[in-house]
Amino acid sequence: MEFNFDLALRSMPLLLMGAVVTVKITALSVALGIVIGLFVGIARISSIRIIRILAAIYVDFLRGTPLLVQIFLIYFALPVVTGIHMDPFIAAIASCSINSGAYVAEIFRAGIQSIDEGQMEAGRSLGMTWAQTMRYIIVPQAFKRVIPPLGNEFIALLKDSSLVSVIGFEELTRRGQLVIARTYGSLEIWVCVALIYLAMTITISRFVAYLERRNKTVDNRD
């Protein structure tokens, strides 16, 4: 069998439209995942036991079950309970960000715990509350330290977002399937899809490397 370059080239615009959707899901899920992860990560080390337990359950459940099953739970099972039809886009964002939030929570927890205890003591002894010290002293320092693992998480999330194709949401992978259904060009299309994913993940990892370098030279005064 021969690689049909013409087909690959003609299919590109459609696939790239799918890639734009993939970027959109990933970007939104990353943003929401950071917010969720930050709060859950802090909750994991809260001095209040019940908050700690709830956060641990969240993390365990979402890391201990497949994302694919979580997508089914949100898209198919949840409407059975609520009676409300789920929009695929909402379901996709929700499942990706809730899932990513659990991983990000662990990253933030480790980052926060890596900050010297003396920082919290210094903040508290100046009369700042625990929350103020977290916000102005601990989290900003932790954030810089967790840039590399966060980058890995986002690359993983970008790839995992292909799973939302199963609920018919037209991101890159789903687009690929649809194009193949019309053209039968399995080889060409899947190669193109893979290359587009690769281009996106390499871009992210380069960007993260840049952030890391910039932090080292400019303001990682640690």
């Binding site: 003591e121 210094a122 903040g123 009369g127 509350t129």
Partner: protein
């Protein structure tokens, strides 16, 4: 009495490190705590601003009994603390290190806080380091910034936890000079230190702490020149 400690006990798990300490500190008094490592002197100091939670007895600071987190931030505004390892905020400039707490806790306007920071830095001799980051400073300079940072909250009491122990010898003096000036200015101070020269010269009262108890106390002359307890004598003979 600005600090009133009664029957203070502190245990870490099964290990009790303070076995019932009584201590009163008058306003403007400079109390220096000396003693061997692991004697509980730092723990005693850290109980005064509730960084350590007592397991028994009571600590009253400026009329407020420290018994829960509820009132603790109020007390901490009035009690400055200087740490052995400085604990400056590495991601902030010297200026931000000093202005952060006054702005966030006391809601002082930025320009006012910055003006105060400038004056404090002048006082500790670091006016030209205002825009530096902590890592660009020597240990002695960092500790002086830490003192300025604590003073920015206008505390009534300053606690020093071995403030010169992490410094290279040539930098000890610049920090002690700042502390001496502070004492002369009438600040109430409780200082844990191994600097016996400072204790002698600046201390109004010296406490010798060993094995979680105040073994002996008195004027520097009493404790250094006429110690009564054998443990004090042994300790002094080892370090002097």
């Amino acid at each position: 009495m600005i600090i009133e400690i009664k029957g203070l006990k502190k245990a870490f798990g099964d290990n009790e490190v303070l076995h019932g300490v009584d201590l009163s500190v008058k306003e403007k008094e400079v109390v220096v705590i000396i003693g061997p490592s692991g004697s509980g002197k730092s723990t005693l100091l850290r109980c005064i601003n509730y960084l350590e939670k007592p397991t028994g007895g009571s600590v009253t600071v400026d009329g407020i009994n420290l018994d829960s987190d509820a009132n603790i931030n109020k007390v901490r505004e009035e009690v400055g603390m200087v740490f052995q390892r400085f604990n400056l905020f590495p991601h902030m400039t010297v200026l931000k290190n000093i202005t952060l707490a006054p702005m966030k806790v006391k809601h002082i306007a930025q320009d006012e806080a910055e003006e105060m920071a400038r004056k404090l830095l002048e006082r500790v001799g670091l006016k030209d380091k205002i825009d530096a980051y902590p890592e660009q400073l020597s240990g002695g300079q960092q500790q002086r910034v830490a003192i300025a940072r604590a003073l920015a909250m206008k505390p009534k009491i300053m606690l020093f936890d071995e403030p010169t122990s992490a410094l290279d010898p040539e930098m000890v003096k610049e920090v002690l000079n700042v502390m001496k000036a502070l004492a002369e200015g009438g600040m109430t101070m409780v200082v844990v230190t191994h600097e016996m020269g400072f204790a002698r010269e600046v201390g109004d009262r010296v406490l010798f702490v060993d094995d979680g108890m105040i073994v002996e106390q008195g004027t520097p002359d009493d404790v250094f020149n006429h110690p009564k307890e054998s443990r004090t004598k042994t300790f002094l003979s080892q370090i002097l």
